[in-house]
Amino acid sequence: MTKNREPVETSSSRRGFLGRVWLLLGGVALAEAVWIVSDFFKPRRRRATDDGADSVIVAGPVDRFQPGSVTAFPEGRFYLARLVDGGFLALHRECTHLGCTVPWVAAEDRFVCPCHASSFDITGNVLSPPAPRPLDIFPVRIENAIVKVDISRIIKRQSYASSQVVRS
């Protein structure tokens, strides 16, 4: 690039100019390639819940759920937990550590992750690490004593608070 052997000043600067043009074109080509490649890698956001049609799951009448019980809703990927005081929480079934599904172990009264042994209580609070935060929740509505869960919006939380619980 810097072979400035030419005796004439103008020739050398013309060569330098052409060199810079080549460099610029190369840069543009590289940017285009990066743009195209990154577009191919862009996550495809197609999901049943994204179109909004099936985003609300009707869980059923309030009375169907015993206080202190946990009911799985595989189609909505959540557990509906009814606390002992009668309040409802819809807990996302994925462990907040690395995304395994956490089964409810009724005998131990806790969710236990099969991958790295995290466990959570009925409110989703962490009982044992390595999970870094409580289970995510979905918004719960109770209309005419029917429990409905909106699975289009996932709520991450740092700790359990009683304001998260929905009561009829």
Binding site: F41, K42, P43, R44, R45, R46, R47, P74, R77, R93, H97, L98, G99, C100, T101, V102, P103, V112, C113, P114, C115, H116, A117, N125, V126, L127, S128, P129, P130, A131, P132, R133, S159
Partner: protein, 417 residues
């Protein structure tokens, strides 16, 4: 790839155990079987599992081809790890070989990437959950974590886009990268004048080293080793089938959900540290340390002799013993004393504090080696490496044999079920 003549002293099998050549042989087997598998495999969640079943039922020796691919992949990880140890313990990373150590680490990373992208493809339970976990780890990388995770999965969850991405990486990008790196790696070996001389420098006094023709002296030995290895893999594949679990069920994790054996030590680490530390900080530190090994300043560059010297041997044994005793104690301490009722893992208490304490312990160990044993720099580096190696080995053994349902500690011989 090979010079016409090589030094006679580098020929004996016990010097290198033919580990580099064995890796190449296994990669050759995997390319051959991999291409055959591509003809039968369909990369979509609906068809992938059935196409693997179909491969085993409908193709001539389809199951055998898959077994060979599977066992070669597992064996390859073991062989390249041993190759790394051989190079390290014979000091084969000094002088002209320094950059080749880095290339070798690149190849190791590439081989792990090939294995990682390969085991999603059967779309069984193990595949699905292992990949969910591993791509879940990407989420903990600071700043770019979510972007990285979205890119690896091709969407919010592991699904059809993930399978296509992994298939592409497994069948083209990773193998092509590996082949290019291998060419570079072998060329550097040749530039360095072949493998290290197995004798201490004092003994290499002859004016004219004793050279022999590569053909037949070296090539025939390599051919014999390669054929023996191929025979071993084929026999293994005839008798032991590659595992294929139940079809992937995104709604139900397997219990316990364990990674393949070469990642189990890493998985065990996750149980004891805050995810940011276990996923990002510790692997980054280990990778940096490995990369740095040839570039530290060594007053005396010893290569060739196993474990460098008498002191080298003694300090390595000491380091191994320390690792063997301390790691299980720490695992039990965390499991029985720290974890019950620990609640949320704080970054300080389950991350920085133990990390700093362990770092201080390693530093103290280093001082001990220098004061008590008069260990040289090379010997200290070797001993610290052995310590980490044994820690990883103990973590792996714990994860493979001592973890039961819910990843609780159990006895492998099943006391009380």
């Amino acid at each position: 790839m090979r010079p016409v003549r090589v030094r006679r002293s580098t020929l004996p099998y016990q010097h290198t155990f033919g580990l580099g050549g064995s890796s190449l042989t296994l990669i050759g087997l995997m390319v051959f079987t991999g291409v055959l598998l591509m003809l039968a495999y369909e990369p979509s969640p609906e068809r992938a599992y059935d196409s693997v079943i179909g491969l085993q039922d409908q193709f001539l020796f389809g199951g055998l081809v898959r077994n060979i691919h599977h066992w070669s992949a597992n064996l390859l990880v073991a062989v390249v790890l041993l190759h790394l140890l051989r190079v390290l313990f014979t000091g084969g990373f000094h002088g002209p070989r320094r950059f080749n150590w880095v290339l070798g680490l690149g190849l190791l990373a590439g081989i792990l990437a090939a294995n990682f992208t390969g085991y999603l493809l059967p779309w069984d339970q193990l595949a699905f959950w292992a990949v969910t976990i591993c791509t879940g780890m990407f989420g903990y990388v600071p700043w770019i974590g979510e972007w990285l995770q979205g890119m690896a999965r091709g969407g919010p969850e592991v699904g059809s886009a993930t399978l296509v991405i992994f298939y592409t990486f497994h069948t083209t990008l990773v193998p092509v990268t590996l082949v290019l790196l291998m060419a570079f790696h072998f060329w550097r070996v040749r530039k360095a004048g072949g493998v290290v001389d197995p004798r201490p420098p004092e003994e290499i006094v002859e004016e004219k080293p004793d050279y022999v023709s590569t053909l037949p002296e070296l090539l025939m030995r390599e051919l014999a080793a390669a054929l023996a290895l191929i025979a071993f893999v084929v026999v293994l594949s005839v008798f032991v089938n590659a595992p294929l679990g139940a079809p992937a069920n995104p709604g139900m994790s397997t219990n316990p959900a364990k990674a393949p054996w070469y990642f189990v030590g890493f998985q065990e680490l996750q149980l004891h540290f805050h995810p940011l530390i276990a996923v990002v900080v510790i692997p980054a530190l280990v990778a940096l340390a490995l990369l740095a090994i040839p570039y530290l300043r060594y007053p005396r560059e010893l290569s060739g002799a196993w474990f460098l010297s008498g002191t080298g041997r003694r300090t390595a044994v000491l380091a191994a013993t320390v690792g063997l005793v301390v790691t299980p104690v720490l695992i039990l301490f965390d499991e029985l004393v720290l974890q019950p009722g620990a609640g949320l893992p704080s970054l300080a208490w389950r991350g920085l504090v133990p990390l700093v304490l362990m770092g201080a312990a390693v530093f103290g160990f280093r001082s001990l080696l220098i004061k008590k044993f008069g260990a040289s720099k090379g010997e200290v580096v070797q001993a610290v490496f052995v310590l980490f190696l044994i820690v990883l080995a103990v973590l792996t053994v714990t994860g493979v044999w001592f973890r039961g349902p819910g990843m609780a500690l159990v006895w492998p011989w099943g006391v009380g079920g």
